[in-house]
């Protein structure tokens, strides 16, 4: 568990990669909870999982041999997730207004804020902007509605569900990749100190 340390032992200064990995793990839990709340509202999602294409893929991106490049790729995907989430929020507010302020709406805002922090953190980790591959397919918020094949309410609900799934997937990938990145960085620093 991040941040959990024995109070008697001195806490070493956590690296930026470690903090980003911890933030990604926290965000992953938030996204998972957000999907649970959405399923409580739209209970058909719990009974019959909708099919369809992924919203965010890195299929067109080149292979990333280094961990730093993998971090770059994940960050690109997270950036796309951020765009999808912002679009989602705009659409829901537009449709439902701001009257509804339940746990779902509150956590939705928290995920957006933490995802912004994670994008900022991972951007700072990449010195030369490694892995700047834009994910596919490209999207705009209005086009996003087209991607779910219809602009009706039901299609919007399916699209929201898919966005939340992408968030869960890419925050999980980010936490794992950042953990590896942190481990490698830590090993290199120890080798340099030994030398």
């Amino acid at each position: 568990m991040e941040g959990a340390a024995d109070s008697d032992t001195p806490v070493p200064e956590r690296s930026a990669a470690d903090r980003a990995a911890a933030l990604a793990r926290l965000l992953h839990r938030d996204c998972t909870r957000l999907l649970e709340l959405y399923k409580e509202r739209e209970d058909f999602l719990s009974q019959h999982a909708p099919g369809g294409e992924r919203l965010v893929t890195l299929a067109l991106c080149p292979e990333a041999p280094s961990t730093a490049e993998q971090v770059g790729h994940v960050r690109s995907a997270l950036r796309r997730c951020m765009e999808l989430l912002e679009c989602l929020i705009v659409r829901e507010v537009e449709e439902m207004g701001e009257e509804l302020q339940g746990e779902y709406e509150s956590l939705r805002k928290t995920v957006k804020d933490r995802l912004g922090h994670l994008l900022h953190s991972t951007g700072a980790l990449l010195e030369n902007g490694e892995g700047g591959c834009p994910p596919s397919p490209p999207m705009q918020c209005i086009q996003g509605q087209d991607e779910v094949e219809a602009s009706d309410s039901f299609a919007a609900k399916i699209w929201t569900y898919k966005v939340l799934l992408e968030l869960i997937h890419w925050t999980d990938s980010a936490s794992q990749t950042l953990h590896v990145f942190h481990t490698e960085k830590h090993g290199q620093q120890q080798q340099q100190q030994l030398l």
Binding site: E42, G51, G97, L100, D152, F154, K157
Partner: protein, 867 residues
Amino acid sequence: METVAVKTDPVTGLHSWTWHSPLPLECTSHSAHIRARNQQSVSQWSPLQTIPGWDIPEKSESNMFPQDKVVPVGSNMTFCCIVKEKEDFKEIMYGRQEMSATRLSRRTYAITATNQPVSGNTGTNVICCSQRLTLTGAVVFVGYPPGDEGLVCETRDLASAECSWKKGRDTGLRMRRSRTKYTLNGRDCLEANERKRWWCSSKAWEQSWTLVARNPLGTVHLMDSAQLTDRVHLLAPVNVTAVEVKAWSATLQWSWSVAAYKKLEMVCQLQLFAHELNSTRNYSGPGLSSVVLESLWPDVDYTVTLYCGSKHGFWKWGDKSAPYRIHTKMDRPDALDVWMWMDSSNTGCVFWKPLSVRKSHGALVGYEVSQSSAEEDGWTPVSLPPGNFSYPIILNNGSDITVAVAARNPAGLSQPSTVTTPAYRADSQLSMSELLSTNGSFVLSWQPNANASSGYAVEWVPTGCSGLCPVDWKKVPESDSSFTLNSDSLVAGVRYTVSVYALSTGAPTLLQRWQGYSQEMTPSQSVRELLPNQSGSDVLLSWKATAMENQRGFIRGYTIYLANAAHLELIANISDPEVQSYRVKGLSLSSYKFVVKAYTSAGEDAGATVAIKMEMDTADMLFVGILVPLGIMFCCLILISICCYKKREWVKKAFYPEIPGPKVPGDWSSPQGPLDVKPSPHSLVHIVESPEWDFTKEGLFPVPEEEEESENDNIEVDADSDEPALLRYYNQVVGDGSHGNQVSDSSGSSNTSVDSTQTEITYAGIQSPTSSQGACGGGGYRPQMQSVIGPAEPQIEFEADFQDDGLHAGYKPQCSWQLDSPEAENFSGSLGSPTSVTSSQFLIPESSEEKPQPSNTWFHNFLSGKS
């Protein structure tokens, strides 16, 4: 097929007819052709026109129709699902309800939802599923048309308008596309459309207003019309301040945020909030912005709120101003209510009541007490702290003292209140009447007194109180001659002395005094010193009443109970409380427990208990214990004497029988020696100890002569025994002559024989011993000897003697004498016969049988009445 009448459009010359399908046209392909009919003539069918559905092969994806429909609650609706090519169909769900689907075409399935309930926030989902996953779906929004009502328009600034209404029933439609849209007089109502407030504003006042509320399910029109001056709703005053605050008044100022208010004739209302001093005051005037608040109380925190309205055509009160706090200044306290209470002829106390907030006019810092008397000039002031409410007074020489008391606060000193010492009257000096309460209160009335120029004072104090007593009083105007002393001033179960004084310029004059309880209770303690005093078979119970503070009511009497094991038995009810004793009569000798309870009108106390054990009286004991036995004994002696007198012949015969002359051959007429005048042989026979003698009794044994006297004395006391009487008689008869023969036990018999030589000679060899006489059967002669070893050994001793005597088998005269012998009755025939001096055999037996005769023959005769 359907036949309809269609008119030609006058403008275009075309015919048009609309058909509403219950099933969405996208669900499957629909075809139509038309022909004209004019009376009996019918045209040819037009070419078939087909509207292709979405289930045609060119559209291979899954779809559901209709999408995002908004329908009213309770309506029916048909949904169709077009299944993707090469995909199977499983079911259609309406919300959580699995519906029965109808197949319309190769790929199209339909359901009909009836009586649809209101949807949730995001609509009702209709899902079409295959075996694996969700194929497609639709959302339907089920709700109500607008329910808004009560449009009211008013002005806040005397120019513009604000219209508001009640929202009414929730439509259940929250999606933007299905929300209610509002227009006021044709203009969009932005505030309401953004769902922020249910009102609309208009920059200019219009005479009439129309609000249209519309959603996909319906439209509502709300109307209102009014003059501007009749709909003035003023804004709240601002900048409220108190410009001049005094002890009893303050001036309040405020301003208006709308300049047009300055010319408006308005009415304003001020609400003053203070502790128990709340009030509302109205003020009016054009453009009112300042008022003077009169009748305030000094040193009080007031909170003021202010709101105004249009005076002409008043519509409603305007908004309230923010609360504003005013603290009035202090003023001198009011005069104190002073009273003086005398607890003796020369001591008393001045009391005054604490001033309320309304009367103190500021926190008191103390009291000043001054007193003056006729002997002293001027006043002697004393300052007391604010917590004091009394001051002791001592009359040095019995002259009246006038005391003045004043209260001081930071604003100054109050007017002094004076009181003169009233004359002391002890309760015992007055004939006080009992005061009965009414619902816990005392209703007092008295004769008006001409001297009561300053009214009356009603004083009440716990009866018998001394020292620091809770004296209370109330001053009554001169015009009144009655007063009700409420129960909240009194304590239940406490006796109060209530006095009425006439007040004048001098000392108060006592008019009347009562005593009473506001509420009587049962005594808290039982009677004291309950004592029983036995007098013969009576018990006198006496007690004392409990102390007054424990009585808690007028003692109405006492009840006396006899306490049994399980309950109390009422034996007396003394209704006179002055009677404090009771005599319980006719008690037998036993233990008793009495309970005495005092009772008031509220009931009895717990009771005091006393126990007594009845004992016999000394005189009775003397009578029963001594005189009665003596009397009985005396009577017995008299009876015996009478009997003896009446039977004197028999007695003489029994105790002094005629001794027949011996029947012997030869001439015995001339005695050869002096006649041995031995006593009656009965006595000698009695002296012989019977072997069946009661061993528990002291046996008879020969005793020295000097002991004989005392022995005889003891015998006399033993009245229960018959034998000692015989012994006594023997001793009397025998006299001293026989005593000298009883010196030795072994030779006693021979000595006796020596003394009665004649008898011994007479009967030797004539009488044979009776061998069958029980323990004495085989014994020889045994003189009147008795073992003195102990009561448990006589038999053994006797046996030993018997063994010895066996050697001298022969004449054994006394062995046959058995008082308790079973054969005793057989001797009755020989009773009264003279017997030998030394033999138990009757000398002249009446029976042929020679059996031993008991020595108590005379006694039997006595009992049988024979003489």
